[in-house]
């Protein structure tokens, strides 16, 4: 996994897939990538933790609690992961 370059599009589609498992009714085609995703998809702290655990399983990125504040929108999460994976 890590040997491949991961594009923004890859990251985004993985994020959508994992969020879709939590919020099956979410419509990602209309989701604004710059809004607070937890608010937009009604994701509580338990769901959010599960989402981060799932991201860790896919990318091996253990996100510390102190970084939670940087992960507001889908765009934020993509940027954060890119920086951590690179």
């Amino acid at each position: 996994m890590r040997t491949m370059t991961i594009t923004e599009a890859d990251l985004q589609s993985t994020i959508f897939r994992l969020l879709g498992q939590i919020a099956p009714e979410a419509d990602f085609e209309t989701l604004d990538l710059n809004v607070d995703v937890r608010e937009a998809l009604d994701i509580d702290s338990f769901d959010f933790l599960n989402f981060l655990i799932a991201l860790d399983e896919v990318y091996g990125v253990d996100i510390p609690e102190t970084d939670y504040g940087k992960l507001v929108s889908v765009e934020d999460i993509v940027q954060y992961l890119q920086a951590r994976i690179a």
């Binding site: 509580d44 338990f46 655990i53």
Partner: protein, 406 residues
């Protein structure tokens, strides 16, 4: 010989649809074993048996709608052999009391207040209720439960002795179940169930409300340090700290942990925290985290994770739905500052937590910014007064500050 009846899985349940038996005649079962799946407004519930024994007869077929209290199966104890000559003795029909949750047999261990003054009879809430219904004088009953407590079976035995069973039919448990419920039906059902419980709460329970602001700096700092040591999948959520603190505070002020039944407060020894879990499709379930006061943060987090996952998948167990002794609701995730909750009968208290927010906080003549959370208590004024409630909130604040000691 004893009867296994459709358990009441909450104040709002009138009937459940038997989905599947997990046992067959001749099977040995132990107390706590899951013996059937029952579909309710809260999803498919795994119902447990409350005594050890052997299944004699299955009386209800799958896909049948069964009212609460109706006999579903017959059991006999492992020790005594069944007496074949005995006609199926059905005690006086027990009309289903949908509005009256019957704390299930599991609670036989949690008897009335420990402060037994003089010759107070120890009796489980369900037994007391049943005795009242069947007209049994508790003084004439020999208890076989812990410390001689009278349990449900003791009452049933006494009732069987007292009167020759009349050949009255039970309320017919058999009512063809509808088609497998759709999501819309499920939601309608759950809405109706919540409506019934909450309307009853508002009608019967004189609520009083108290609130206090809690400085969360210490607990959050402790949690942050703790979580730093853990891989992400072992991290603890702040909700776990709150649940544990409530449970511990209830050991300090036990009067808020229990039921209002038969015009009296019945304090429960075991502390089972009903935690409000919102469902994505709408509605809410408050399954119980058992013995929350006795568990470590890791155990509670594992339990909470398991409970939320199963709640959302619609796979809860009967005891989890019926035996919460208090409710905790945390709406901070949704930006709410204060929660004024409605008590879930027959419980006598509900603790609400709002959002943790940075706020100006004055202490020892200094003003600073602190993460602050508002905790509210909704209390049943029949059971306790404001002073008890105030003591509870004080204990809760204290327990949260002592997070490292718990």
């Amino acid at each position: 010989m004893s009867e296994y009846r459709m358990p009441s899985l909450g104040a709002d349940m009138e009937a459940g649809v038997l989905v599947e038996w997990k046992v067959k005649p001749g099977d040995h079962v132990k107390r706590g074993d899951i013996i059937a799946d029952v579909e309710t407004d809260k999803g498919i519930i795994e119902v447990e048996v409350f005594e050890d024994g052997v299944i004699d007869e299955i009386l209800i077929q799958p896909d049948t709608k069964v009212p609460v209290g109706a006999v579903m199966a017959l059991l006999h104890s492992d020790v005594t052999r069944p007496e074949p000559a005995v006609t199926v003795e059905r005690a006086t029909p027990e009309p289903p009391h949908p509005a009256e949750p019957q704390p299930t047999g599991r609670q036989a261990v949690a008897v009335s207040p420990a402060r037994t003054n003089g010759h107070r009879i120890r009796v489980s809430p369900i037994a007391r209720k049943l005795a009242a219904e069947l007209g049994i004088d508790l003084k004439t009953v020999q208890g076989t439960g812990p410390n001689g407590a009278i349990n449900r079976e003791d009452i049933e035995r006494a009732a069987a002795l007292k009167e020759k069973p009349k050949a009255e039919a039970l309320p017919s448990p058999v009512e063809a179940a509808g088609q497998p419920s759709t999501i819309a039906d499920f939601q309608t059902g759950m809405r109706r169930a919540i409506a019934a419980a909450m309307a009853r709460a508002n009608r019967e329970i004189p609520h009083y409300y108290l609130e206090t602001q809690i400085d969360m700096s210490r607990p959050l700092r402790w949690l942050e340090e703790e979580n730093l040591k853990r891989p992400i999948k072992d991290r603890i959520l702040p909700a776990v700290l709150l649940i544990k603190a409530v449970a511990k505070a209830l050991t300090d002020v036990p009067e808020l942990n229990g039921y209002w039944l038969d015009d009296q407060l019945q304090v429960q020894e075991a502390i089972h925290i009903g935690f409000a879990i919102a469902l994505r499709q709408g509605g809410l379930v408050t399954p119980a985290l058992h013995h929350a006061d006795l568990k470590s943060f890791d155990e509670l987090m594992a339990d909470l994770r398991d409970l939320i996952t199963r709640t959302r998948a619609g796979r809860l167990r009967s005891s989890e739905l019926s035996d919460a002794t208090v409710t905790v609701t945390s709406l901070g995730d949704r930006g709410v500052e204060k929660v004024y909750g409605v008590i879930y009968p027959p419980q006598v208290a509900l603790v609400g937590f709002g959002k943790i927010m940075e706020q100006p906080w004055a202490e020892r003549g200094m003003l600073g910014l602190r993460p602050v959370m508002t905790a509210t208590l909704a209390g049943d004024h029949r059971a306790t007064d404001g002073l008890k409630g105030a003591q509870f909130l004080e204990a809760l604040t204290q327990r949260l500050q002592e997070v490292d000691k718990s």
